[in-house]
Structures are given as structure tokens and as C-alpha cells.
Symmetry: C2
Subunit: 344 residues, 2 copies
């Protein structure tokens, strides 16, 4: 077992030397290497940015979306949207464990993967026959491979799998939000897209981590009502996050000033400038949206002469899954929002 | 004068409500608003990512590059590469100052703009007749507009304009590197692309800010020799930054361990995973390259289970121009590298 094997480099077919996430094509063979684990897939979850891109591209034609996802997996050996670069996650059952796997999984355990599908070798064997292409939740049969350095969480017994999976899918956001908020003294925190999965968890994490005041920004009246009822934020405001001046005004209004920490959880392009403009000098913007443009953020801050720290939202922090699960278990409003979202 | 006017929103023609950097088209009229400043252009500097993209696209055909730059400026009212999203900077002479401009500039002053050309209203009047399309330095005639919140530095008398401009173009990098390095106790620092403009300044900034050990990574033997002679880094190593395993090995070799702070200054795509893999848990990666992919970085860190902080390199920090100029004046090796670069 070598470092390169733990990272999955031996599965990369094209181009040579790339890491699995950057690869064009992975080897999707079911034969398990010494430090690998094979999962029997139960379901896939497309990430929001990828699903929205496919929906938009095909004008809501579910059959066309289904065919494209099958094509992607067949041609790339992994589920990575070629436009957004993103993937999603999966739930499956451990089928075989290589003798040197460091993951501590046992055959028969039901797990969710916490590394993106964009780097996970994957083969689909049922043609996604049980999926209509109209939801990001994809019942599927086939297998997936975990590397030595992959991360998978055994699904908890006390929570429905779908609920646990929805939380695990975004569990990096509350953990990183908590870390950033703790770096300030009683900061004001704005969460753009506060009624969504990562948004609601981030609001709960900000409050628990010492935020002085929080505001959730949402795009439509229905979400504002949901978030107000949940009382996860001290204030709720309506704004189109793609309109920089309107967004900054909504944040300022909700916090009685600009934010010290702004967390971007909306998966639409064009929110960079508004997030920067909403943030006080010396503040931090955390971008979790996969629709974030690096150059728009970098040049936007420069163009606005804004002294803000801008973080690329890393989906991994030690203990992130446990932290998010704990928020779900102990903050009833978070659980209610997640359950309502799953029911729809 | 309003906040929106200071940001230049009144110059945005398409789409309405966008900030100038995100706009498709700006109004390039020479008529100066109350809080604006008009410059007479002397020369433009294309940013490295934009120039490389244009060079590659046109296979080194300078005449085609020249025509495309003219087309971009004529159709967009600003110089923003539609592929990279980036622009560059300019040197010019102050021609007219609106009565309410907060920039403190006087007519006749020679200045360099520190906000990107990607958001600066611009009109070219000489067809770029003195440019052969083969260098990022573009002699040009025409005018540009500064907004109330734009940033421009008066060129120092004691330095050649070209030298000052080359430094100002990348002055955000050493300032942010210094801030990040000071956040650690005697960190080990790797600068990927250490022999370049932002790279050499970042190495000097890291050393001055308390780095325990620094390594500069370069792609070719010639640059390694330059950087070794300059002695700006404690170690110099050769590696292709697009090869994650090779890059991490070179950093580890140069620092006797992974980096606490990794600074990415190479304008080629695909360096995200190598930078992450080169960085210790708890460390920070600062991405200055405009070729950085947000999703590759975010998913890469998750896929590698790497607990690293990833910063989008903000080109603005208070005092950044003065800090970079001071490095140039007080570190002879930095000045020598810049002068050699300009001479070629």
C-alpha cells in the first residue's frame, strides 16, 4: 500500500498521473484492491449544482436527464457533471473489504459516502430504470469503490436513511461556518440561502458558535415564511442574491450593519459580488456554492477595494459528520426543515 | 454621489443592476461624472492568464491576438477576456477630475490602476497600432474612467514606470502572503511558481513575515537557476505543478515536510490538487492564479480528506502597493528578478 494507492491513483485511466477527481476516466472494475472497499449502490444523490445544470440544459425533460447521467457514468467511470465539475454522494451497503483497508468498515454496513461522486469509481447496472430524472435522488443498482483515504459514514440507527443522507451531503458547511464564526468576537453573520440544507445548518452552527446576530437571506416569500417559522435566524430578509446592491441592502437591514461573516449557500452563479459587498472590512466570506466563480470573486473584491477574506468552502473538516448530525438531533427546527424538504 | 455611483453602477449598460466587473458591456463615454476621473492611456498590461489564453487560442499569431483585444474592448467597453474573466491594469495620465472624486488625484499625475481592467470603462483610439500582439505590455492611446471606489497609485519618481507597474500588477500577493504567514508560528512556506512576479514577491514577503523555511517550486531548469541565484527561498525545487504527486514530493523534499502555507502563483489550470496535497493538515493554501477552478479546489480537498483552509487570493489589502514597493526597494534580489523579466 502506497500513498498513491490510498488516493486512488491506480484507478485513473486518463490522463495518467491525475488525481481521481481531475481524471477524465476512472477504472470502474468491481475487483477490490488491497486497500479498497466495494459498495453495492442503493441510491445516488446528485449535487444541487449538477442537477440544476442538467435540468436547465434539457428543459426539464427527465428522460433526457436520465440518459445523460447514464452516459456520463458509462463514459467516465464516475458521476461527474462535465459542466459543473461536481458530483454528489451515494448510499450503499458494504460488499467487500480489502485486507488492508484503513476505513474500519464491515461487510453489510450501510454507509453514505462523504467524498464526492466526482472521484468515486462507479458502475450502474440497472439503467436507472427506477428514476424519472426529475429529482436529485436517484435509486440505482451497481457498485462503487472507496479508496483508503475516502470517507464514508455508517448511517445512524436512530434516523431515517434519507434524512441522514441529506445532512451528510452538506455536513462540511456547518463545521466550517462554526470554525470561522469562532474566529470572531460575537460576529454578525449572514447566510445567503438560509432556508436550504446547508443554509439552515449553517445558521444553527453560527448561533451555537457565538454569533451576536444572524440573518438568513432567501429568494422567495415561501422560503421566508419557512425560515421565520423555524426561528433559526434572528432576522429573515428577501433578496435576489445575484443583485449585489439589493443583497447588501438586505443584509445591512437584517443585521443593522454589514456582516462580519457571510456564508454563501445558494447554487446559482453570480452571487460573488453581492456577498463581498455585504461583508464588512476585515470580515470573511465563505463560498459553499459550487456555482462560485473563482475569478469573479477575486476580481470582484479587488474591484470593490474590499478587505475581506474569501474562503473556498472545503467539504471536509475532522468531525464534520458528527457535528452536523448533532445539530440535526438537538435543534428541532433544523430537523423540521430537513423533513419538510425530504417530504416534497 | 451615492454608493452605487461610487461603484460605477451608472456605467453598466448590460445587464442592468450588475456591478461593472460582472457586466457584459460598460458605457465608455469620456464625459466625466461628478465622482469620476478620466485617464489618458499610455499603456495597458494584459494579465498573464488572459494573455496566455489569447496566445494559445491564436497559436501565437500576434496580429490575431491584437484584433481580438480590439474587438473585446470595442464590444464590451472594457478589457475583460471572456474566457478567463480577467483583465489587467493600465498606466495613464490624469486628464480630468470630477469635482466630487474622493481619489485625491490631480490633473497631470501619472498613475497605474490597481483595479482590474475587467471593470474599468475603456476606449482605444489608435487601433493598438504600436503593439505586435506578442507581449502582455500594450502601448495604447485612448481613455479610461476611474470610479470613486477605484484604486490608482501615483507612480513613484525613483523607479522606472515599467518596473513600478510590474510590481503594482501583483501587489496583492505579497500583502496577503504576509498576513497569512503571520497567522502561524514560524511556518514552512511553499510558493508554487516562485520565480515569477507574484511568486518572488511572495517568497520575500514570507521570509520577512516570519517563515521558518521557504521553498520555491519552478517548472524549468532556467527558472530554478534564476531563483537559486536570487537566494529568495531557502530551497528551490523543480516540479510540474499539474502533477499532484510530483508537486507534493518536491515541496516535502524542499521543506523537510509538508507546507503550513502554500501559495499558488502559476497561471496554468490544474494546480489545485497538488497544492492541497502539498499542505499539512491545519495549513492554508492561497490561490492567486486566475486559472484556479473553484470546484476543483473544493472537491479536491474533500476528496483528499484534507483539513486545509483555502483562500481566494484577494487582489486588495490596505497598504498593498506600499508593501510591495518596499519589498522591491529593500530586497535587491527581488528588484533584480523584476528587471531581468522586464528586459526580456
Amino acid at each position: 500500500m502506497t500513498a498513491s494507492s490510498l488516493l486512488g491513483l491506480h484507478r485513473v485511466q486518463v490522463p495518467t498521473g491525475a488525481l481521481p477527481q481531475a481524471a477524465e476516466r476512472l477504472d470502474d472494475s468491481p475487483v477490490v484492491g488491497a486497500d479498497e472497499v466495494r459498495l453495492r449502490i442503493e441510491r445516488l444523490n446528485l449535487d444541487a449544482a449538477s442537477f440544476c445544470q442538467l435540468q436547465t440544459k434539457h428543459g426539464g425533460d427527465g428522460e433526457a436527464v436520465r440518459r445523460e447521467v447514464l452516459d456520463i457514468v458509462a463514459s467516465r467511470g464516475k458521476l461527474q457533471n462535465p459542466v459543473t465539475g461536481s458530483g454528489g454522494m451515494l448510499v450503499g451497503v458494504v460488499d467487500e473489504v480489502g485486507p488492508g483497508s484503513p476505513l474500519g468498515l464491515t461487510v453489510g454496513a450501510r454507509v453514505a459516502t462523504l467524498v464526492s461522486l466526482s472521484l468515486t469509481p462507479l458502475r450502474i447496472t440497472d439503467g436507472l430504470a427506477r428514476w424519472d430524472g426529475r429529482s436529485e435522488r436517484v435509486p440505482a443498482e451497481g457498485h462503487a469503490i472507496l479508496f483508503g483515504r475516502s470517507i464514508a459514514a455508517v448511517l445512524p440507527d436512530d434516523l431515517p436513511a434519507e434524512l441522514a443522507m441529506a445532512v451528510l451531503d452538506v455536513c462540511g458547511a456547518p463545521a466550517l461556518t462554526a470554525r470561522v464564526v469562532r474566529g470572531y468576537d460575537r460576529p454578525r453573520v449572514a447566510v445567503i440561502g438560509g432556508a436550504g440544507k446547508s443554509g439552515s445548518l449553517s445558521l444553527a452552527a453560527a448561533r451555537r458558535s457565538g454569533a451576536d446576530r444572524t440573518v438568513g437571506i432567501v429568494p422567495v416569500r415561501h422560503e421566508a415564511e419557512l425560515l421565520e417559522e423555524a426561528a433559526l435566524a434572528d432576522g429573515v430578509r428577501l433578496a435576489d442574491a445575484r443583485d449585489p446592491v439589493a443583497l447588501a441592502q438586505a443584509v445591512e437591514d437584517g443585521l443593522a450593519g454589514p456582516a462580519d461573516v457571510t456564508v454563501v449557500c445558494v447554487d446559482v452563479p453570480g452571487c460573488e459580488h453581492g456577498a463581498i459587498l455585504s461583508t464588512a472590512d476585515g470580515g470573511t466570506v465563505v463560498f459553499f456554492s459550487m456555482a462560485t466563480s473563482f475569478s469573479a470573486a477575486a476580481l470582484g473584491a479587488e474591484g470593490l477595494a474590499a478587505d475581506v477574506t474569501m474562503l473556498i468552502g472545503n467539504g471536509y473538516l475532522p468531525g464534520h459528520a458528527d457535528y452536523a448530525m448533532d445539530l440535526l438531533r438537538t435543534v428541532p427546527a433544523v430537523r423540521a426543515l430537513f423533513e419538510a424538504r425530504i417530504a416534497h
